[in-house]
């Protein structure tokens, strides 16, 4: 990959600066479990959380991505570089999701009771 590490650092800096603004007031930016979107993949691909947890998805790529639940139960706006999206998983179960722009990108939130 020829993307420079400088652009990667810059993208991360933008995430750090912008995320708190986009989080709901009840969220705790620093504590919230995160799914990072990098190199067209969700990291971690499976994230396990307890019911009631707010998960933050953050886009660290130079291209927008869009988080959509397979069952359509949640859907972000297009996330540009550095943008975040927060969703609270109130019910237990496995929630598979994908990127609405690049549907080969897939991930899962496993919500325990």
């Amino acid at each position: 990959m020829t993307r420079t590490s400088i652009s990667r650092l810059l993208a991360c800096a933008l995430v750090a600066g912008g995320s708190t603004l986009l989080l709901p007031e009840t969220g705790h930016a620093a504590d919230a479990p995160r799914v990072r979107i990098e190199n067209f993949s969700f990291e971690p691909q499976t994230l396990t959380v307890k019911a009631g947890t707010t998960v933050v998805f953050e886009n660290d790529d130079d291209i927008p991505h869009l988080v959509v639940a397979d069952d359509k139960s949640f859907r972000s706006k297009a996330l540009d570089t550095g943008d975040t999206y927060a969703f609270t998983f109130s019910k237990p179960g496995d929630f598979a999701y994908f990127c609405g722009l690049h549907p080969h990108m897939r991930g899962k939130i496993a919500v325990s009771p």
């Binding site: 020829t2 652009s7 067209f40 927008p64 706006k77 540009d80």
Partner: protein, 316 residues
């Protein structure tokens, strides 16, 4: 400059012939029965003759207005350069097609900027959306309101020019988890209906954003239900499929169908499998314009063959 000459008759006699042009290397190769063979390149004189006796149209793609990251902080300037090249063409194209990703984020100001720059050619422009053009709040409403007045569904349509039937398809909406680009049942039914009245000897040009053949499934570079569209195109003597999305030239000939993808005017992407992921590729300063460009297509009167001529922004 990369040129490719599609000799329709020669190709139909061969079985499962494939050819590809890889951007940057200038290598043209074909495989016939497993043996690589070289194809005739269209000479400059032939190209000029084609232009004199037929018409040309111009393809631009992936202008990504609004993109400002390291791979090209000034995507707006490289679109202006591309349009400058269009204006300077010795033979004025009959019209332009834009194969999507006009904008980076579907914002009104980005569409406005693109329209203003592309409008500078004074040419009619036929658009199809890329996935970056349908991420407004209304999931594509902004695109349809601007470009879809005479289109069906998410923006598909057809038109005729000098005996050639052109079809613009949309394969960037209602994408399915784990899937590739998607045309959908409604559009396929429309396509079957649209082609019904077209004679088999009519040259067909189909254009859409995501390639209508599987270039690289791991990166989503293909359209899951394209085989159904291609089946509808089998009975025609000459079919040319023009796509964008992958920001590099790739070509394949299969039977009566020539597939070709255009360069972006904004930023290059890696060749399939050569990087951990697709996406904007930052190249050393001075190389960017050799990886961006436009595509000129020449149609000869009464002929089945189309000449596809790619030129780089860095070409004099």
């Amino acid at each position: 400059m990369t040129q490719h000459h599609d000799d329709g008759e020669g190709i139909s006699r061969r079985h499962a012939l494939e050819c590809m042009i890889w951007a940057g290397t200038g290598v043209l190769w074909t495989v016939s029965g497993g043996v690589p063979v070289s194809l005739n390149l269209l000479g400059a004189a032939e190209a000029a003759e084609a232009q004199a006796s037929g018409f040309t149209f111009l393809q631009i793609s992936d202008s990504h207005i609004g993109f400002d990251k390291a791979a090209n902080p000034h995507a707006i300037d490289t679109l202006k350069e591309a349009i400058g090249k269009v204006k300077a063409l010795p033979a004025k194209p009959a019209f332009m097609i834009h194969t999507g990703d006009i904008t980076h984020l579907s914002k009104a100001a980005q569409f406005d900027n693109a329209d203003q720059i592309i409008g500078g050619t004074g040419l009619d422009v036929h658009y199809v959306p890329g996935e970056h053009d349908v991420i407004d709040e209304g999931n594509g409403r902004a695109y349809i309101e601007r470009y879809g007045k005479n289109a069906k569904g998410a923006g598909w349509y057809s038109f005729d020019q000098n005996g050639v039937h052109f079809v613009g398809l949309v394969n960037v909406v209602n994408l399915r988890a784990g899937g590739l680009g998607n045309l959908g049942a409604e559009q396929l039914a429309w396509l079957a209906d649209d082609l019904r009245a077209v004679s088999a000897s009519t040259p067909i040009v189909v254009f859409a954003h995501i390639p209508l053949w599987t270039v690289y499934a791991d990166w989503g570079w293909g359209t899951e239900d394209s085989t159904q569209a291609l089946a509808l195109l089998k009975r025609f003597g000459s079919v040319t499929v023009l796509n964008g999305h992958i920001h590099q030239i790739m070509q394949k000939v299969e039977g009566n169908i020539t597939f070709h993808t255009a360069r972006s005017t904004a930023f290059p992407q890696p060749a399939p499998g050569t990087a951990p992921a697709p996406g904007p590729m930052t190249v050393p300063a001075g190389q960017l314009r050799s990886l961006l460009g436009i595509t000129d297509v020449a149609v000869r009167n009464g002929g089945q063959e189309l000449a596809i001529i790619d030129s780089r922004l860095s070409d004099a």
